[in-house]
Amino acid sequence: MDELSKEELKAYKEAKSLLTDERRLSFGGWLRKKGWKHLVGWVMVVYSIFPIVYVISGSFANADQFTSTLFSSFTTQNYVDLFEDPYRPFANWFVNTLFISGTAAIGSVFLSALAAYAFSRLRFTGRRAGLLTLILVQMFPQLLALVAIYALLVNIGNVFPFLGIGSQLALIMVYLGGALGANTYLMYGFFNTIPKELDEAAKIDGATHTQIFYGIILRLAAPILAVIGLLAFIGTSSDFVLANIILTKPESKTLAVGLYMYVSDQFGQRWTIFAAGAVLAAIPIVALFLYLQKYIVSGLTGGAVKG
């Protein structure tokens, strides 16, 4: 850059600053350039977190002064009351949710992994049709058939009472019914990225197909299976409608169905206790979600947004 005239240098600097935004800004300029972004940012932060702050504040408020201002009173009594209501057994709901969603998540990952292994590693007639069917089935959520699911479980309950309406096992079975459609295609994609040479080497060394499945495919795909399982867990733990029609007894309900009992009753009387329950119910899911955020975004977009 030697031998530049003053004007040329000035023009160069101007052009550079235009392209790279490196000018020193006056306050007005800063406000126009950056400040309004912070303003919008703050508005969005308030909008985003206000309802959540409101629940947290409510969970620590005295029952009679929860609406007026945030954090106007402080008590932990709501958390105590939450666990001492015999008609609304919160601890049971929590354990039920962990049990039902956990079992359904593990079961559905296992079933989908079996199917994805067949689609990825084996060649058979009907393979393409099978994959297409899975994509098609995935389009129709189970809740569209909720009347038939209810009627079917009434009928099953006539033969095996422990699998009828009111049974948590029945609910898990219904969730497993949706497993293949939801996860297989995703897993099929991941299994395809594991080199086939690995299983062929093992096969030549005398490994059986089960040894290849458990020993190679599942081991290598374990991290991604865990992520899919946790996502399935988040999904089932938030299900309301199937759990609501199938689980009938208060002590066998899940958090989503149980907490609805608080809200559908007269508002106000138990809002602060509900808020305590909501905070406890939300913590594990929000934590899981933030932990898995990058997988959620890439997983959700994985099929469609090709890099």
Partner: protein
């Protein structure tokens, strides 16, 4: 079972790597694996044989046959050698076949029946229920003196002084629900009413008052035929003869109402119906053909809400997708600026609504919107009583605002991802060519963005189309539409209407009509999926 390879590793000839049909044969199964397989198969088969026996006992031969065939197929799949694909697919397919495919077909069947709380069993059960439930006082029968007594164990009993047609007196006793048995009376009052018997003593009046409800509800049967007449006491001192309200004639398959002699015949639609169109409840399940669909079209009390709900469902889904997309995209453009300080924290805060469990969000917003106590009315509007969730128009705005809150973080995340994948030299050259910010957005960013995001917008539309939780947990579909003959509210979408018709307590459950509406949703979702399939390339990737 270890991943390490034993022995030398070979480089496979190039041709072999693609064809792995050899894998389909599997290797030699281990003893342990074989044992586990046989035990599991045995347990499953035993349970299925048990189920088949119960089904045959219930004379349900069709399902007994289906279960038998399915059990045989599963055993065949796992006991023969080879055929690995079937072995890996079977477990998932069984669950999918029952709980995702069969139930759809079953919905289709239920849509052609009158299944519901008034028609939930077969004809024999309905006849029994009609005879047992419809009971009435038999006119012309005498009234008998009665005494409330207790037996030696202190149990409540009733002592009745009966007179037969010949005028002979009999003293009998029974507890609630039992047949009257003869006893030896020990005391009579001045009107000739037996007040005590061997082993039975009269209960003082004030004690009767305390158990009044048990007394007036008690039924004392005159014989052990369950259809027989029985006695009830309205005042704890007299026994009145009750009997079935209806008289069943098996020959003519008709019901005659005792009090007015009206005759009801099998209508062919699952009820007994009189000549002037009165139906007896309960009825029984029958196939009714297109009746449910006909009702949806011809009954204005169903048709009008259905049309309104369908329009609102589309409006709700479309506006939700557009509003969340526009806000999400706007924020993504704004914050896709690595030099903005605190950008990371803004992002974390804005993702929180998406991370917070959806059902809890609906509950929280329901509280915020509450007319009398909600934060929005009390604090933001200084005590105004704005009916956010109970006004038929305002409730829709409220729902859309909540869905904006719930949905914008997702759109923010995916549009940020898509924006970052647009090559930066593309934007740079546009800038050098003098494109304005608006031109850059409209001509470069947006078209590139839509290519990758469009399929997700369709998915988002399909999700919101059936967003039951939000509607049901936030507003309950309310406010209720009083012009409709079905239980439906002004903010209901199709799926929440189906739920309320099928499962709302208080009003009759109508599974048939609910299933007919599910079929309608199936067709809509199917059409949308078909078009989205045609637009995306997913299908071409399957090879």
């Amino acid at each position: 079972m270890s991943t390490e390879t034993r022995g030398p590793t070979w480089q496979l000839p190039k041709g072999r790597t693609k064809s792995n049909t050899a894998l389909n044969d599997g290797g030699t199964p281990s003893l342990f694996g074989t044992l586990v397989k046989i035990v599991l198969l045995g347990l499953m088969s035993a349970a299925m044989v048990f189920a088949i026996m119960i089904l045959i006992g219930n004379e349900d031969y069709l399902f007994a046959g289906i279960v038998a065939v399915a059990t045989l197929i599963v055993n065949w799949v796992y006991l023969r050698r080879g055929r690995l694909p079937a072995k890996y697919l079977a477990p998932g397919l069984i669950f999918m076949a029952i709980f995702q495919v069969y139930v759809v077909g079953y919905s289709g069947y239920i849509a052609f029946t009158n299944y519901g709380s008034m028609h939930n069993s077969d004809k024999d059960d309905a006849i029994n229920a009609l005879l047992l439930n419809g009971q009435t006082r038999i006119a012309g029968e005498p009234v008998y003196p009665l005494t409330v007594v207790t037996d030696d164990a202190g149990e409540l009993n009733f002592l009745v002084t009966l007179t037969d047609d010949a005028g002979a007196m009999q003293v009998k006793v029974a507890a609630d629900g039992e047949v009257l048995q003869q006893v030896t009376p020990t005391e009579f009052n001045s009107f000739g009413k037996a007040t005590a018997a061997e082993g039975y003593t009269e209960l003082p009046f004030r004690e009767i008052a305390a158990i009044q409800e048990d007394v007036v509800r008690a039924k004392l049967y005159l014989s052990d035929d369950p259809d027989s007449y029985f006695l009830m006491t309205p005042d704890a001192s007299q026994a009145v003869v009750f009997g079935p309200r209806l008289d069943y004639d098996p020959e003519a398959d008709s019901m005659t109402r005792v009090e007015d002699g009206k005759v009801f015949f099998d209508s062919g639609e699952g009820t007994y119906r009189s000549s002037d169109g009165e139906d007896l409840a309960p009825g029984w399940r029958v196939e009714v053909g297109l009746l449910n669909f006909e009702r949806a079209v011809t009954d204005p009390g169903i048709r009008e809400p259905l049309v309104r709900v369908t329009i609102w469902t589309f409006a709700f889904a479309i506006i939700s997708v557009l509003s969340t997309f526009i806000l999400g995209l706007g924020l993504a453009l704004l914050f896709n600026d690595a030099k903005l300080r605190g950008q990371r924290w803004y992002r974390v805060a804005m993702v929180l609504p998406y991370a917070f469990p959806g059902f809890l969000s609906a509950f929280v917003w329901r509280a915020l919107y509450n007319k009398d106590y909600g934060f929005i009315n009390v604090v933001l509007f200084g005590g105004a009583e704005i009916p956010w969730l109970t006004d038929e128009f305002l409730v829709k705005i409220s729902i859309l605002l909540v869905n904006l809150w719930l949905g914008f973080p997702y759109m923010f995340l995916i549009t940020t991802g898509a924006l970052q994948s647009i090559p930066s030299d593309l934007m740079e050259s546009a800038r050098i060519d003098g494109a304005s910010a608006w031109q850059q957005l409209r001509l470069i960013k947006l078209p590139l963005l839509l290519v990758s995001v469009a399929p997700l917008l369709i998915t988002s539309f399909a999700f919101n189309f059936n967003n039951f939780s939000l509607i049901y947990l936030l507003s309950g579909g309310g406010p209720k539409d009083f012009d409709a003959t079905i239980n439906v509210g002004h903010s209901d979408i199709l799926i929440s209407m189906v739920y309320k018709i099928a499962f709302s307590t208080g009003e009759g459950r109508d599974f048939g009509l609910a299933s007919a509406f599910s079929i309608l949703i199936f067709f809509i979702v199917g059409t949308i999926s078909y078009f989205s399939f045609r637009r995306t390339k997913t299908l071409e990737d399957v090879n």
